[in-house]
């Protein structure tokens, strides 16, 4: 048992006191095959009775959910990008273009999976379904004073609504800005990875609904392996910008239980580039505070001792 607050942690579930426990379960969201249908958002709400989150046309492409919050536990981001690409000249006729040695047939999969080649304007439309990361080192859980937030036997992080008193300490603690208070209720809500479904062998609602297997659910170790292969495959196809996010146990949160394959910088999708568990330095802080307190206590005690003399 390490009881650590940062860094790699082999058995996060065992660390939380589960002696015999299932494998740590997680999400791998492969955004290269996301079609932005938002089935995940709706399936999540239907299963978990998450309320409607407001009828606002945002103008942020097709994203009218905007962010993860108490009433949106999955959020599909839409990013429209325009980039110059090698353009077929409109004035060049067919035979000339062949003579110029321009490629006439794209190798299957040679293009960016979310960038169809459409002539003189390269439009890329990135879509990505975001979710609570179920961090290895979950600051929300570490700061929760009530024991409402806890780690399940699947290694996921869940709010127990019968405990939460709405203190809100967890809200600023989350390095991803996921956990949020429901205004009319006060308590905090977020993705549970469908804790009540996992117990009976069902997949989380979002992963089950996802039409293209963009959201994959399974043992985290397997997912990490699969993700590694997928990113290698994309690199082979020339999609150099494919990268994993949240997959590494060496990152600032000890690796995410829900990680992603992205096709651009995380910031582009609205994700922090280098998230760090906000309680990383807590132990050191407490140690110093404790030393100070001890000094004070000793001082006070000594004063009593002195007085009793």
């Amino acid at each position: 048992m390490s009881n650590r607050l940062s860094g790699p942690l082999d058995d996060v579930t065992g660390d939380a006191g589960y002696e015999a426990h299932p494998e740590r379960m997680g999400f791998f969201t492969d955004t290269s095959v996301c079609i932005g249908c938002k089935a995940c958002e709706v399936a999540c709400k239907e299963w978990n009775f998450v309320p409607e989150d407001g009828l606002l046309l945002t103008g942020m492409s097709y994203d009218n959910t905007q962010q993860l919050d108490a009433n949106s536990w999955r959020h599909v981001a839409f990013v429209e990008q325009t980039k110059p690409v090698q353009a077929p000249s409109p004035t060049v006729n067919t035979s000339a273009s062949t003579d110029l040695g321009m490629p006439t047939v794209g190798l299957p999969g040679a293009q960016d999976p979310q960038a169809a080649d459409n002539g003189d304007i390269g439009v890329r439309w990135l879509m990505s379904s975001d979710v609570c990361k179920h961090c290895t080192h979950a600051a929300c859980l570490d700061v929760c004073p009530t024991g409402s937030l806890f780690r399940t036997e699947f290694g996921t992080v869940v709010v127990q609504q019968d405990i939460c008193n709405g203190c809100g300490y967890c809200v600023p603690a989350c390095p991803y800005g996921v956990i949020d208070q429901r205004k009319d209720d006060g308590r905090v809500f977020k993705c549970t990875m469908c804790y009540d479904r996992l117990g009976v062998g069902e997949q989380p609602a979002c992963a089950k609904a996802c039409p293209t297997e963009s959201i994959q659910f399974g043992p985290l170790d397997e997912l990490r392996e699969r993700a590694q292969q997928r990113v290698e495959r994309l690199h082979e196809q020339g999609i150099d910008e494919a990268r994993l996010y949240g997959e590494s146990p060496d990152d600032g949160v000890g690796g995410d239980g829900a990680f992603f394959l992205l096709l651009d910088e995380p910031e582009v999708y609205g994700m922090p580039p280098d998230p760090v568990v906000t309680t990383r330095d807590l132990a050191a802080m407490w140690r110093q505070a404790g030393a100070a307190a001890l000094t004070l206590t000793v001082g006070v005690a000594l004063s009593f001792v002195g007085r009793s003399r």
């Binding site: 079609i35 169809a116 459409n118």
Partner: protein
């Protein structure tokens, strides 16, 4: 496809993962484009020019899959000498009658065909439309096997005619018409050609982007020609796949509530020709192929409906069928409603005030009825037009003046009733009642069954001959539950049909013309085989072969891929191991040989691949061993249609009814000459090339909503995802017209003006067409004033002009766009009138003739 059929799209993504190239052709950059290898932005409604360009590329370079084309298509057939192509008639085919705006098809036929007197000028104009749709389950009829030139050199053989007809569809012309760069066109053409042959296939998938045009049927025809040339029909991984948008829209044509069809694509009788059963079958009976047995199907239907009352002596009650005299389609009907010719209207799970073209025309019709019955789950706009329709706001209508009596009857949902949907691949799937419907909610089955019972009770004892069809109707179904719900399985069993012993039949080949069999829809015969509801089968997919034949039931005869005889070569061997699907196995049936494979062969099981039919053979006996297209009277797929398509034997590009450019391909022929228009003051058309209406609009769906919105705009979880009506415009158009992102725009056509929030996006791309820049405006059409997510109805902008084959309207038109909200009240009418005046729309445009 990702946008509107996300779950079906999983297979596209899987194919892509395995190396398939995904090409997406669409005016806008959608969620499908986002994950495709190639997005081809195209001007809306220019699809025939694009497909014609591909056809031209293939035939002019002889890149077709020649073995397939020679064996399975009519490429070698010789056409009569009277046929004249659009090349020689400035965009018209021979046989055009400008007065009627219809074609006489006599000159289009195979050489040596007898002259058909049915299509002579002077018969009712709509006869053809009715018969064209009867080809839904089989091909139209030709009465001879064509003469062939297998060298494909005869100047009047189909291949040469195709070559000549499409010769002007060059890459440069495609660029000119569609706005597609030649290099990109070449990329698509090469990809398709390289993916053709014994080892490889390409699938085409389409939806209403192809069908919703006044040339819609011909766009599909062009797709089919392309696929046939590449050898992609009847083979695994091939096909031309209609992505239908409603749970049972396929079923709605199979068992049609359509004016011109009876179940199984049998035509409704027409007054000018069909006064008896003999008249009705005359054109088809005995023709080669299974359609030649039409009398079996027709008599079985009549027996199914009128039971013991239908006898050979009384022509099986054929006279009980009402007869058509012309266009009784929905748009004609709505104009008749406006003119006060119709008393009552049933709207059953349909919301024309939002979903049909020209909403004002729809609402005017609704307001001029004696009575209206609306059956739906929620309060749709078509039920509330009298209270809060747009015409109330403008003052065109006053609630107190609207005499329509409205009954809103709540419907049962899919979980509250049992029955079958037929999905887009002809698969019937049963859904079971999970809970009873609440309060007054009832199924349509309940409503029509009990309405029929009441009507029959009220007519009991009538001696009026007119009431016999109702009184003799077979109308007894078992009832169950507190609401006396009729038993849907009993109805399905009636649809399937029964034999002389009263037992369920297994196949339509068992149907007879002597009155001994009954079947409510011959193509569905077999869905209740062995007295088992085959549509309810749910053997898990992973426990059966990849074809999954034991999940539901597909018509006909549970075949999953139609015309699959074509998956084998003429000798009956698979074209290749990779593409093996159905083949001839000589070792089966004690060495007699049989067709076998992964699917049920869509062929006569014991017909040898080399079988040559006897001279004079009729019906199925006339099918040769290498004639895969068993519903076609010559057994071949038609690159050129010598019959059955009313607006030409080959697809031809015409501009849509409203267009900002003149037709670059046929400058003398701007529009489909055989289109059907509905001239009426309420349906005025924007003039061609109008500077007042310079932009193209095209309507479409987004993933988060469903059609006219009744099943999505009322749901919080869907409404929050797309909470408002919006239009999509390019940055260029936004700059040109001063439109601001998230601001408002007013979009105006000769019909009306609507307002929408603006999304400025690079996904909408201006195209250079015919030397000018064409801006396209995207309008998702899901919205109306009711529900949680609201907005103006995009379809209010649309002019009704329809395809003459199937009476389907164009979804593309021209418009003006300006920043800001639309005027309110009577000022809106002034705004529209001012545009019309400036554009020169005739004041009396189309007073009803």
């Amino acid at each position: 496809m990702a946008e509107c059929h996300p779950v079906g799209f999983q297979y596209v993504m899987e194919a892509k993962r395995r190396g398939a190239t995904i090409i997406h052709v669409d005016p806008r950059f959608t969620r499908t484009s986002a994950v495709s290898d190639i997005h081809v932005p195209i001007r809306a409604a220019s699809d025939i020019a694009f497909l014609g360009g591909l056809i031209n590329h293939i035939v002019s370079n002889e890149l077709d899959f020649r073995e397939y084309v020679l064996a399975y298509t009519n490429a070698a057939a010789i056409i009569g000498p009277d046929f004249v192509d659009t090349e020689d008639l400035a965009g018209l085919f021979s046989g055009f009658d400008p007065e009627q705006a219809t074609y006489n098809h006599d000159s289009w036929k195979y050489e040596g065909s007898p002259t058909d007197t049915r299509h002579k000028k002077g018969t009712d104009e709509d006869l053809d439309a009715s018969r064209a749709e009867a080809a839904g389950s089989g091909g139209p009829r030709v009465h001879i096997k064509p003469q062939l030139d297998e060298t494909l050199q005869h100047p009047r053989c189909v291949y040469q005619l195709l070559k000549k007809h499409f010769a002007r569809y060059t890459p440069e012309m495609v660029h000119e018409v569609c706005g597609i760069e030649p290099a990109q066109f070449q990329q698509v053409a090469d990809t398709l050609v390289h993916n053709s042959g014994r080892e490889r296939t390409t699938a085409l998938a389409y939806a209403v982007g192809w069908t919703h045009h006044s040339t819609g049927s011909q766009i599909i025809r062009a797709g089919a020609i392309l696929q046939l040339l590449l050898g992609n029909v009847g083979r695994p991984g091939g096909g031309i796949i209609a992505l239908r948008g409603h749970a049972s829209i396929q079923g709605s044509t199979d068992i049609p509530t359509l004016y011109n069809l009876l179940p199984g694509y049998l035509p409704m009788p027409h007054a000018s020709q069909h006064q008896s059963l003999d008249d009705w079958v005359r054109a088809d009976e005995g023709a080669a192929g299974f359609w030649g047995n039409i009398r079996d199907y027709g008599v079985s239907l009549l027996k199914s409906w009128w039971g013991d009352a239908a006898t050979a002596e009384n022509d099986f009650c054929f006279d009980y069928l009402p007869r058509l005299t012309g266009d009784h389609g929905t748009y004609r009907t709505v104009l008749d409603q406006i003119e006060g010719k119709i008393a009552g209207y049933f709207l059953v799970g349909e919301n024309p005030a939002v979903g049909s073209s020209n909403g004002k025309m729809q609402r005017r019709g609704l307001a001029n009825l004696d009575w209206l019955v609306v059956r739906d789950l929620v309060m749709i706009e078509s039920a509330t037009f009298w209270a809060d329709g747009p015409e109330i706001e403008t003052g065109e209508m006053r609630t107190a003046d609207i005499g329509t009596e409205v009954f809103f009857l709540p419907a049962a949902s899919h979980t509250e009733k049992s029955g079958t949907f037929t999905n887009t691949q002809r698969l019937l799937q049963w859904h079971h009642e999970a809970v009873a419907p609440p309060d007054d909610c009832r199924s349509e089955l309940w409503f029509y069954y009990h309405l029929g019972k009441r009507i029959r009770d009220k007519l009991a004892g009538s001696t009026d001959e007119r009431d016999r069809p109702l009184l003799d109707l077979t109308w007894e179904y078992p009832e169950h539950g507190v609401h006396a719900e009729p038993d849907a399985e009993a109805v399905l069993r009636e649809i399937n049909g029964t034999g002389p012993d009263g037992a369920a039949l297994s196949s339509y080949t068992e149907l007879a013309a002597d009155g001994s069999t009954r079947s409510g829809c011959w193509i569905y015969c077999g869905v209740y085989a062995d007295e088992v509801n085959q549509s309810a089968r749910r053997k898990p997919g992973h426990e059966q072969s990849w074809v999954a034949p034991e999940w539901g039931w597909a018509w006909p005869a549970n075949r999953r891929t139609l015309y699959n005889r074509a998956s084998a070569d003429p000798d009956g061997k698979p074209w290749s191991e990779r593409k093996a699907y159905v083949w001839w196995d000589q070792t089966l049936a004690d060495g007699q040989g049989r067709w076998t494979g992964h699917d049920i062969p869509d062929f006569i099981a014991d017909r040898h691949p080399h079988h040559v039919p006897a001279e004079g053979a009729q019906g199925p006996d006339a099918i040769g061993g290498s004639d895969p297209f068993i519903m076609m009277t010559d057994g071949k797929a038609w690159l050129y249609a010598p019959a059955g398509v009313v607006d030409g034997p080959m697809p031809t590009h015409y501009e849509p009814p409203e267009s900002p450019v003149s037709n670059p391909l046929y400058p003398d022929q701007q529009h489909n000459p055989a289109r059907r228009s509905y001239p009426h003051e309420i349906n005025a058309r924007n003039p061609d090339l109008s500077e007042v209406y310079p932009f193209v609009f095209t309507t479409y769906r987004v993933t988060e909503h469903h059609t006219a919105g009744g099943m999505s705009r009322t749901l919080p979880y869907l409404s929050e995802l797309q909470p408002e009506f919006f239009c999509e415009v390019s940055p260029g158009l936004a700059t040109e017209r001063g439109l601001e992102h998230l601001g408002w725009a007013t979009i105006t056509s000769a019909r009306t003006a609507i307002e929408a929030r603006v999304l400025v996006t690079d996904r909408m791309r201006p195209l250079r067409v015919a030397g000018q820049v064409v801006h396209q405006i995207g309008l998702p059409y899901h919205w109306g004033p009711n529900g949680l997510s609201t907005g103006d109805a995009a379809n209010d902008l649309v002019n009704v002009t329809v395809d003459p084959n199937v009476n389907i309207q164009d979804k593309v038109g021209t418009c003006a766009i300006a920043p800001g909200r639309r005027p309110r009240g009577p000022a809106l009418l002034q705004h529209v009138a001012e545009h019309r005046r400036r554009a020169g729309v005739p004041v009396d445009e189309g007073k009803t003739p």
